[in-house]
């Protein structure tokens, strides 16, 4: 059956882009669609849906769906499941693709063609893109593309997507696909072919077409745990009839000496090897590749470490120093904006809402944009060059002690600057459970928003502190966060996410020159998503918080007293009995409530509570006010112990609406962010309690 006539008549084409991770699929996607891309989510799952429109001179609309990078379609991870479902047309709102473009890494043909053979099974028209031809060339390989096309039975286009070579040919091949062989090209052992027929027949009776039935049958036959067949889309797969058939087939195969677990996989690789032996020629022998040479240094026991620590430090230094310039600039911008509004608008609630509510709130998160951009830049750079895998390789031993994945390292490290890029970076972790744990503990890595709070409290409890003392205490707080994170990870692994044997099995791609264009595009995309999501939620909640701190109003009161009588003030008073065991009074309570939106709001809220002129950038006046603050009975409020207890609270508490927003986006649900808020706040309470009461017992 040829699809060509139908194809030619269609006005709108849907093309799916499939391929292994690290095959340059995203670069191909970017080259085909330029900036006409949109990112969303598939319904009900955490997998991202990326659609773009192909740029080409023609009347037809060609939509390109960038499938998640997968090594197989065998449904072992959410990514694979989604990729498979899209190709089968099982996802509502996403049409069956008219064509599948399989991006293959030319320097790694054997494994890449495995996925191609699986996609071919489904009977969809395919174009194979042999990307990264330059790398293959550097490996001394020459590829007979004609022969490969004949062997596979599909059209093959060669590209070096990072240099935009071959893209025009690819566009042509997409719009004018050649007649292709839709018949399956590889064979199972004969006995197995025969045995599978019964199962295929049963599946066809349930409505699957022959190609899909074959593909499903293969998955079923090799599935270890038949009781887990709750795939809601094909529920009949769990039926008695099917299970019995599978049992029967396996028995027969065992008798024939065929290993039903591995036979299909081995047969595919046999077929691939057979084709490739006449297709790939090693024209010069490369004894030791550049990648190998780099790796011998970069993963060296001593040098590897040093370079690794050096790179991470560089990343950090850039974020904490270089970023401050644009951050101050943005801060000023928002202050100007607020002043401008004060000048133009009549005094009153609306004006206050704009300046103290909206601008302060939204400005508070936009100010982090430089840090976020820099982080995404570094993460993109590490990913594109291939170094990310080496970082995970080096750190895996440490991470696995906490039940984490080596790939969790960079997301967690990034969270020291800001948890948001860290959480977004956790997409690189294939296992859903590992990714979720990483996301849940990321905010425990003390982010830069906590610094103003730490600084203020440290200055309060050690009025004249040397830089060393200050740094020492800060480091303790950071350390506490790390220990907390690993502890929580371990507990989560033992409770909510049990029965998960940690799996690494991670590819280490060859080192490559990064594509600056891709990285910038990636930075832009991620930051835009952050601003959109966090911005809308922060906007709304800034208004709510401002209202809580302003209403109900009473005339003729000082700002301090107004705050006391507002809803937030009342909440603070109500909260007092709860937080007294931690050493806090209602004023700190208000600060905590304000901090719910963002940690650094604590400082500005305290300024209002203690009636400090906030135009002073200094910490001094507030610090002095803290030192003078008293309980009704005359006792000092901010004793050293209280300061530490408060800092400990801030280490553990979830106080960042932007993060909550991003977590909800990345997990595609509200369940996890809410869980995160509860567990972290609970942990903060307990830890601060232990510190304060424990300190009291010791007589401090």
């Amino acid at each position: 059956m040829t699809n060509n006539t139908i194809f030619q008549e269609k006005k709108t084409l849907w093309v799916a882009l499939a391929g292994n991770p690290n095959s340059g699929k995203t670069t191909v996607f970017n080259a085909l669609t330029k900036l006409r891309q949109k990112v969303g989510n598939y319904p009900g799952v955490t997998v991202e849906k990326k659609v773009g429109r192909m740029v080409f001179a023609g009347e037809r609309i060609v939509n390109i769906l960038d499938l998640p990078g997968t090594y197989s379609l065998a449904v072992r991870s959410p990514d694979e499941e989604v990729a498979r479902d899209v190709l089968l047309g099982n996802i509502p709102g996403t049409p069956v693709p008219d064509l599948v473009v399989c991006v293959v890494d030319a320097s790694n043909l054997e494994r890449n063609l495995y996925l191609v053979s699986q996609i071919q099974d489904l009977g969809l028209p395919i174009v194979v893109v042999l990307n990264m031809m330059d790398t293959a060339g550097k490996q001394g390989k020459e590829i007979d593309v004609e022969r490969l096309a004949r062997g596979l039975g599909v059209a093959v286009v060669t590209t070096v997507a990072s240099r935009e070579q071959g893209i025009d040919q690819l566009k042509q091949a997409i719009v004018h696909p050649m007649e292709i062989q839709l018949q399956r090209q590889w064979r199972l052992p004969e006995q197995m072919e025969k045995e599978m027929e019964q199962l295929i027949r049963i599946l066809m009776e349930e409505g699957l077409n022959q190609r899909v039935a074959f593909s499903e049958a293969l998955i079923l036959i090799a599935k270890e745990d038949l009781s887990l067949m709750n795939s809601t889309k094909l529920s009949f797969l769990g039926t008695q009839k099917v299970q019995e058939c599978i049992g029967e087939i396996r028995k027969n195969l065992n008798a024939a000496g065929i290993n039903w677990r591995s036979a299909a996989i081995e047969a595919r690789y046999s077929w691939i090897q057979n084709i490739l032996k006449d297709v790939v020629y090693q024209i010069h022998e490369i004894k030791v590749s550049l990648t190998d040479r780099l790796d011998s240094i970069l993963t060296h026991r001593i040098w590897g470490w040093m370079i690794f620590v050096g790179l991470m430090s560089l990343m950090f230094f850039t974020i904490f120093s270089v970023a401050t310039y644009p951050m101050n600039w943005i801060d000023n911008l928002f202050t100007q904006l607020a002043n401008g509004i004060k000048a133009v608008m009549p005094a009153g609630d609306l004006r206050d809402l704009m300046t103290d509510g909206v601008i302060a709130g939204v400005g508070g998160i936009v100010v982090f944009l430089p840090q976020i951009l820099i982080l995404f830049f570094f993460i993109g750079l590490l990913q594109d060059t291939g170094y990310m895998a080496r970082a995970a390789f080096i750190m895996d031993r440490v991470m696995s002690q906490a039940g984490l994945h080596g790939k969790s390292f960079i997301p967690l490290l990034s969270s020291f600057a800001c948890a948001i890029p860290g959480i977004m970076a956790s997409r690189s972790i294939e296992s859903n459970k590992d990714r979720l744990v990483t996301i849940l503990i990321a905010p425990l890595m003390s982010c830069s928003a906590r610094l103003p709070v730490y600084s203020l409290l440290i200055a309060t409890f050690i009025p004249v502190a040397s830089p060393f003392q200050k740094a020492g205490i800060m480091l303790c707080m950071y350390f506490l966060g790390i220990v907390g994170a690993f502890g929580v990870a371990l507990i989560l692994k033992k409770t909510l996410f049990k029965r998960q044997t940690p799996v690494l099995i991670m590819e280490m791609p060859p080192y490559r020159w990064p594509s600056l264009k891709s990285i910038v595009l990636h930075m832009w995309e991620r930051s835009y998503l952050f601003l959109k999501k966090a911005g809308t939620i922060i906007f709304g909640l800034s208004i709510v918080l401002w209202a809580l701190m302003t209403y109900p109003k009473h005339d003729g009161l000082s700002p301090e007293e107004s705050l006391q009588k507002s809803f937030a003030g009342m909440a603070g008073r109500t909260l007092e009995p709860v937080i007294k065991p931690l050493g806090y009074d209602w004023r700190i309570g208000i600060g905590l409530i304000g901090s719910f939106a963002a940690r650094e709001v604590f400082v500005s809220t305290m300024n209002i509570v203690f009636n400090i002129d906030a135009s002073q950038e200094q910490v001094q006046p507030l610090r002095d006010a803290f030192l003078k603050a008293r309980w009704p009975d005359g006792q000092r409020l901010f004793t050293p112990l209280v300061c530490i207890s408060l800092m400990v609270f801030y280490v553990f508490a979830m106080q960042c609406l932007s993060t909550v927003a991003i977590v909800s986006r990345e997990t595609n649900s509200w369940r996890w962010p809410v869980f995160q808020i509860f567990y972290m706040t609970g942990l903060a309470y307990v830890m601060a309690f232990i510190v304060f009461q424990g300190g009291r017992l010791l007589g401090w």
């Binding site: 054997e110 494994r111 996989i265 590819e507």
Partner: protein, 93 residues
Amino acid sequence: MNTQQSDPSHQAPIKNGDVVFLSQMSAGQKGEIVKLIGEGEIGQRLLEMGLTVGASIEVVRFAPLGDPLDIKIRGYHLSLRRHEAEAIRVRLC
């Protein structure tokens, strides 16, 4: 924990033709996969990544902390934890 290179005092001398666990091999050694003691999903994943019976495999190096290992299979590099490598039997050559 174990150091990178095999410590002769811990293992009997390994020679060509011996069948060992992948995790017992030392950096630089090559072999051919003879058996996969598949543990369900992990076993399937390893197979799909190309670690099938008969495939040539090489241990390139171990990570600075001794785990995971970097192996070369079907022309590419894959890193595996020792625990995962214990599922693979290799004949040295």
